[in-house]
């Protein structure tokens, strides 16, 4: 299947403003505060007023049920326009971005806003919680680390890595993301970690130890999206949307008995293909200058390297060992610290990742020590559920 066969999407939509709050255990603020802080940073960045927004897409997984888009209208007073909420686990932020892009691309409006916000820590939200499935009988006390560790067991077996080899490769991902996070003022965590710390840390779900698992955070991020032909009216350095992708698996791919062996995910592969087709990317490993990917667990980041074509099948471990995904490597991944260190307010994460790519492409990251050298093309990507849905967006700072 080819998406946008006539490829008239690429460069037809642009981001003109973005905002992102400090992530973390934000006891000091509520959901409305987070929305206000992220949105007003974006409004200011775009040079628009809240009343200029014509449609808003809200990403959130944990606000009280049936709240619709009202946390946004309540906080920002942008009532009287379409404000809708989507809940697609960790990809919700990307889905909001995609919806905003399609809204302006279709001509429905000129200025659309995507905002993701999550206030998890008011409810003592450690981890994702148990019993989140659809079936009240088969549901049991299983949690996200155990669900993603299913990948590690199969991956090591399939490609012949020993426990120690895989564990060490995963540790390098953790160490990288912590080093990057230490340079991000808005990140949840700033501690630099060592190999020894990772190896000695408490085991959560083998081989995933404490540092292989991201925490959950409070936070919000926002984007203002316009048609590309209007973008330069607002700023000289708009960031163009090159493509996006999304693909969904069954609620329990666990039950699939074909095309699924836990080392590769149809949703990831098809999401990548859709976005690469739209953006005209044929060799992501070479063409992308940076990527923000879904490192909810270190093993997830490793699986994404392969399903998104950054590494050949079974060779992600080698690339990790060679430092290919370090800030100074061939394809820097999670230069802001990733979910692991920047934090993971579920619905906000896709937009936070896109915020980093946007700022990097504008050469305007908040700490120059983190600024990559002359990047042109970047990707942000989320993977949600345990694990069912993938979404991504590719941005560039030049047309064409």
């Amino acid at each position: 299947m080819t998406y946008f066969a006539n490829n008239d999407f690429k460069d037809s939509v642009a981001i003109i403003g973005m905002g992102c709050t400090k992530f973390g255990e934000r006891w000091d603020v509520g959901l409305h505060d987070l929305i206000i802080d992220a949105a007003f940073e974006a409004f200011e960045d775009a040079g628009i007023k809240p009343s200029d927004v014509q449609a808003c897409y809200f990403a959130n997984t944990n606000a009280p049920n049936n709240c619709s888009g009202t946390p946004v209208t309540d906080a920002l007073k942008i009532h009287g326009i379409p404000v809708t909420r989507n809940e697609n686990w960790c990809t919700s932020g990307h889905i909001a971005l995609i919806n905003a892009c399609l809204a302006v691309k279709s001509g429905m409006c000129d200025i659309a806003m995507a905002i993701g916000a999550e206030k998890l820590k008011d409810k003592g939200y450690a981890g994702m919680g148990v019993g989140r499935g659809l079936d009240p009988v088969r549901e049991a006390r299983r949690d996200a680390p155990g669900s993603f560790a299913l990948i590690a067991e199969k991956y090591a077996k399939k490609y012949g890595y020993t426990y120690d080899e895989l564990k060490e490769a995963l540790a390098r991902i953790d160490i990288k993301n912590h080093a990057n996070g230490s340079l991000s003022p808005k990140a949840h965590f700033h501690n630099v970690i060592t190999m020894e710390q990772v190896m000695k840390a408490a085991m959560i779900a083998s081989p995933l130890g404490l540092y292989d698992c991201c925490g959950t955070s409070d936070g919000a991020a926002c984007a203002i999206i316009v048609r590309a032909d209007l973008a330069e009216k607002y700023r000289s350095d708009p960031i163009y949307v090159k493509g996006f992708g999304c693909a969904t698996d069954m609620i329990t791919p666990h039950y699939r008995n074909r095309d699924f062996d836990w080392t590769s995910f149809e949703s990831l592969r098809n999401c990548a293909k859709m976005a690469y087709d739209m953006a005209g990317i044929t060799n992501p490993r070479e063409q992308l200058d940076l990527a923000e990917v879904h490192d909810c667990f270190s093993i997830t980041e490793l699986a994404i390297y392969e399903d998104f074509g950054f590494s050949k099948r079974g060779e992600a471990v080698k690339d990790i060992q060679a430092g290919f995904f370090e800030r100074t490597g061939g394809l820097p991944v999670n230069v802001d610290g990733g979910l692991k260190c920047f934090g993971h307010p579920v619905g906000a994460s896709g937009i936070r990742m896109t915020y980093e790519v946007y700022k990097q492409l504008q050469h305007k990251v908040d700490n120059p020590a983190r600024q990559l050298e002359d990047p042109h093309l970047g990707l942000s990507q989320t993977f949600g559920g345990p694990p069912q849905i993938a979404a991504c967006m590719i941005l560039g700072n030049q047309k064409g």
Partner: protein, 481 residues
């Protein structure tokens, strides 16, 4: 027409507590032997299903027409426990008469008597009698140490040719006695008891002496005519006293697993019968004496059908695949006596309608096999994931499959604080379906991809304020046919 036992099954949980561990917790030496301990995900229903599955090694479950569940510790006080057992055993709803037989430790032989009466009245009937108990004594009481958890089952039916039976049931009789020696009031957790000498003399020994006399008189048999004697007991000492006085020799005496598992209540007599039959030769006569508010007796003759066992010894197999529970404290928490910190509440809402609607999947463990392309899927899928066909499938049951562990993870903290380690597992069934569930009764170091495992019926959660049951995977324990 002869009436008797067509198949047998037993179940003993994976965990046990050495008596010394209970003693140590209270600053005493503790006695000899072991207390069999049902896991936190087990109860009398799940164990009764396990014992029932043992019977299906030698008897086609399609032919079962009644289920009598004997217990004093049914999970439900109101709601038919045997109805749930029947469905979990994948029996036919339009055929099965289900009934619970409760309130006495002789419920096992009571149910056996009712089964014999049933098949005498309806020779086509085949009755699954399954008995299980998880009794509680007060912490630090002698009963706590003596009680053990376990289950046993038999299938009772009629045969024109008695040699097709494993054993004929030639005689049964009971005596009734109103006495408060052991009892539990309906709103209580722990079994109470009267003064020990009264319990033994007026109760146990008095009643067993009476029933034995009755058996010998009415059958004309002498104690030495029995190759085996299954006599229940609350403790080894009193049991020995009874046997010695009545000249039942140690060679005749069949263990009801008092020292290996403890007093398994309503399951004890049936466990003894299964233990006797697993070590029997055709022609042998077996005496069975059960106790509780009076006493019950049966005389069995081992038949040629016993050869179907072909050396299968399920009790030995279960005793040989056990592991000690690491702490008495964990036992106290599992039974809700001194409950450890509960985990965070589940985020999924219970639904009585959904639980009822999906019982073919959750209780029977049914999946679907596509009639068009043959692919097997779990759970039952209306649309085939492989060829896309709609509503064109046959159901299959994975209950008895030996599965291959496809992938797994060991999560150290996902469980409740008294049972924190959760193994998520994906298993490939015999026909290639993938089933995602949890693992239980594992030695964590031995869990490996591709290992063989089997399904076991377990409690999953209490959503909706009732136990929700589904199937877990475990390393092979159940003896295969």
């Amino acid at each position: 027409m002869e009436y008797g036992i067509k198949s047998i099954g037993a179940y003993l949980p994976y965990r046990y507590l050495p008596q010394t561990a209970i003693g140590a917790a209270w600053g005493s030496r503790g006695g000899k032997g072991f207390k069999s301990v049902a896991d936190v995900d087990e109860d009398s229903i799940t164990m009764a299903v396990e014992a029932g599955m043992g019977c299906f090694r030698f008897f086609d479950r399609k032919d079962v027409s009644a289920v009598y569940f004997a217990t004093t510790t049914a999970p439900y006080a109101e709601k038919l426990n045997s109805a749930l057992i029947s469905v979990a055993c994948d029996l036919q709803d339009d055929k099965v008469f289900s009934a619970d037989v409760t309130s006495s430790t002789r419920a096992g032989t009571n149910a056996l008597k009712m089964a014999v009466s049933t098949v005498r009245a309806e020779p086509d009937a085949n009755v699954l009698v399954t008995a299980a108990d998880v009794r509680l004594g007060y912490p630090k009481s002698a009963q706590e140490s003596r009680f053990g958890d376990g289950a046993a089952a038999v299938i009772v039916g009629a045969e024109e040719n008695g040699d097709n039976l494993m054993a004929s049931i030639d005689y049964m009789s009971f005596i009734n006695e109103e006495i408060n020696d052991y009892w539990r009031n309906s709103d209580e957790k722990y079994t109470r008891h009267a003064e020990a000498r009264f319990c033994d003399e007026a109760g146990y020994l008095g009643q067993l002496n009476l029933i034995l006399k009755k058996v010998l008189k009415e059958t004309g048999l002498k104690t030495e005519d029995f190759a085996k004697a299954v006599v229940v007991g609350q403790q080894a000492k009193t049991l020995l006293k009874f046997c010695t006085k009545n000249k039942i020799t140690p060679e005749q005496t069949v263990s009801t697993l008092l020292s290996e598992a403890g007093d398994t209540g309503s399951a004890q007599a049936l466990l003894g019968i299964v233990n006797a039959l697993e070590n029997a030769e055709p022609g042998q006569k077996i005496l069975v004496l059960d106790y509780g508010n009076g006493a019950g007796a049966a005389v069995l003759t081992v038949k040629e059908g016993i050869r179907k066992l072909n050396g299968a010894k399920q009790i030995e197999r279960y005793l040989g695949t056990r592991a000690p529970l690491d702490s008495y404290a964990r036992y106290l928490s599992w039974r809700g006596i001194a409950q450890a910190e509960p985990g965070t509440p589940y985020k999924v809402q219970p639904s009585w309608a959904q639980t009822w609607r999906e019982q073919r999947i959750n209780l029977r463990l049914h999946g679907s096999v596509c009639r068009k392309c043959g692919s097997a899927l779990f759970p039952i899928n209306r649309v085939c994931d492989c060829c896309g066909s709609k509503d064109d499938y046959d159901e299959f049951s994975a209950q008895e499959d030996i599965c291959r562990l496809y992938t797994f993870s060991i999560d150290e903290f996902a469980g409740q604080s008294d049972d924190p380690v959760i193994i998520q597992a994906v298993a490939e069934t015999a026909n290639g379906a993938h089933v995602y569930t949890l693992m239980t009764d594992f030695v964590r170091e031995e869990v490996k991809t591709d290992m063989e495992c089997e399904f076991t019926f377990r409690r999953f959660n209490e959503l909706g304020n009732f136990p929700n049951y589904f199937w877990k995977l475990r390393p092979l324990r159940r003896e295969q046919r």
